[in-house]
Symmetry: C2
Subunit: 351 residues, 2 copies
């Protein structure tokens, strides 16, 4: 017997590299543009003397701004320290049963880490060869389901119909739809929270609202599920969101126009990047996200990944079965993508 | 069978009220003074365009500043979203066994909430009649121990010798010493991390560094325990600390002089408050914290609590066995305390 026996031992998630020197960073799906000018103003106007007090534990202003934006009730909104915090709380809250939860074999790799850390049994369901999800695979007994739509790192966007079938067929499980990338395209499941009592939708301000550094995520769900989620949140940490996050998040949400502008720019660059990557000999499923998950017809992904690093361009490579021949390339500015294409041209010629 | 069966149902912690209108707020042990001017400067200088990127997941600058300040290695330091986040991670990491963990019956009431949410068996050990802790009570089989020193809400500070006895006798358990209030007095157990491999010390910037609104807590421990803690942290959320927290925390840590100034002011006001409260007929154990846990010789605590609210003065009242005759009064500015004494005088005369 030793205290070691009482320790929860886990293999943590490995986030994409955050290099400290200046590089072209296309490896963690960040937004290439700064946040809304309203965020700058709010932070400038913030009186730091307020910091002596605890922040609003209910996050009223932020929750209300999200509810307003999407035409929902505040009671249907939950907020957290990035969608990772939101998803982690969802796993802890909704997957406390004994039956295995289900998610695809190729998806956000944090799902299995959360399952491990909270000792939740799980079963991964292989995607089809082309990375499509088969809703029929989710018609088996389970303790919960998590689907990222659009999926990461594949970029594949599933039709709402398929998602709804899964939710409908699994009324005895909570189904989490992780919509981290929904703002760049794809069909949201948000209206389904009026129709089904077992669905939670998670979102983030890290990608489309250019606020990865502020750590803000949110979720929508029927009031009852949001209540359960808040009970667990208030059992873990009463004050998860600090004052700068609360004010910046609210302002980012209010600036609809700026949000649409930068989103449209990312989407335009993505569409142009698809053409360029095709010309360079890459194949990929059509992406509705802010990244492209591509495979080269001839040159191994790992080789390209390493060579790009030598050019100070970081993309994401997953050394994992079924996807180790792919690169996940975040959409940067047009200038950054041009640098990428130039480097790829050189690398592919030399290979 | 329904999805309700898979839901983790809990009774959350109730934090002290955060009234939205202006009151004299002596109910959540916040600092009455603003954070260091260096924090103001750092936030003013912060370029919000960085927010588009993820923050440093290792929190290098903040961790190093804490390590430097206390003369420890960075590998012995862990940081989180307030000491609640740090403690929550500690419970999750170190108390994964089947034997009950131990903590006093009167202490920070979040301990039993964390034990509940993580389904950790626990046993509360009654403090002595005078709120002293008896180290002999902790010489029984257990899966871990948590001691707040100084204790909250009692304010009682235990000698280091007693804490060390508990750590030494329980080499098969991790012992967490919650030192949220240590900066205001009391003997820290920090040197014990060199001597024992089973001890974790937790701290916060919410009280003595006037940064409750920024959510920064930290812990010290032997490298091995800090490694386990980080593994769990990185299995829950890679990026818990946002950019403003990272820079503000570092600056607050560097400004030793300001920290000592405001701490000394709080301590001086506390000592004066003790005299005043005694004159008003209150009794209390000597406090080395930024609050006083006091009982009136004649008038019930609940009555005083409610009357003070009518005077727009908020203190904390716990409607719980053994302590429902006490009020926990945070130390405010001298002016705020004078208002309190004036109001108390009126209330007690009328009672």
């Amino acid at each position: 017997m030793s205290f070691e026996d009482n320790i929860r031992k886990v293999v943590p998630y490995t986030p994409g590299e955050q290099p400290k020197r200046k590089v072209i960073k296309l490896n963690t799906n960040e937004c290439p543009y700064p946040p809304s000018p309203k965020v700058f103003n709010a932070l400038e106007d913030f009186d730091a003397s307020h910091l002596r007090l605890y922040p609003d534990p209910e996050c009223t202003g932020l929750v209300n701004s999200i509810a307003d934006y999407y035409g929902r009730k505040p009671e249907e909104v939950f907020v957290g320290v990035g969608s990772d915090d939101v998803l982690s709380m969802c796993f802890l809250t909704f997957f406390a049963g004994k039956k295995p939860i289900l998610f695809p074999d190729i998806t956000y790799s944090f799902y299995e880490v959360w399952a491990d850390v909270y000792r939740i049994p799980y079963k991964t369901i292989p995607l089809k060869e082309n990375f499509d999800l088969d809703d029929e695979d989710y018609m088996i007994e389970n303790g919960g389901i998590v689907i990222a739509n659009p999926n990461a790192p594949t970029g594949v966007s599933e039709p709402l119909e398929k998602i709804e079938k899964i939710i409908k067929a699994n009324h005895d499980s909570v189904v989490i739809v992780d919509e981290a990338y929904i703002d760049f395209g794809g069909e949201t499941a948000l209206p389904l929270i009026d129709k089904y009592e077992n669905v939670i939708i998670t979102r983030t301000m890290s990608k489309s609202r250019a606020m990865a550094g502020m750590r803000i995520g949110y979720a929508f769900g029927p009031e009852k599920l949001i209540k359960y989620l808040n009970d667990v949140k208030f059992s873990v940490n009463s004050y998860t969101m600090n004052m700068p996050a609360l004010i910046a998040g609210e302002e980012a949400m209010l600036d609809k126009r700026y949000f649409e502008q930068i989103r449209d720019k990312v989407v335009a660059t993505r569409e142009r990047s698809k053409d360029m990557l095709k010309k360079l000999g890459f194949t990929f499923r059509d992406s509705k996200t802010n990244f492209i998950f591509a495979k080269h017809e001839r040159v191994p992904a790992k080789y390209i990944f390493e060579k790009l690093k030598e050019h100070d361009i970081y993309v994401r490579y997953f050394n994992k079965p079924r996807i180790d021949d792919h690169l996940r390339i975040s959409i940067g500015t047009d200038e950054e993508m041009d640098e990428l294409f130039k480097a790829l041209e050189t690398i592919l010629q030399e290979a």
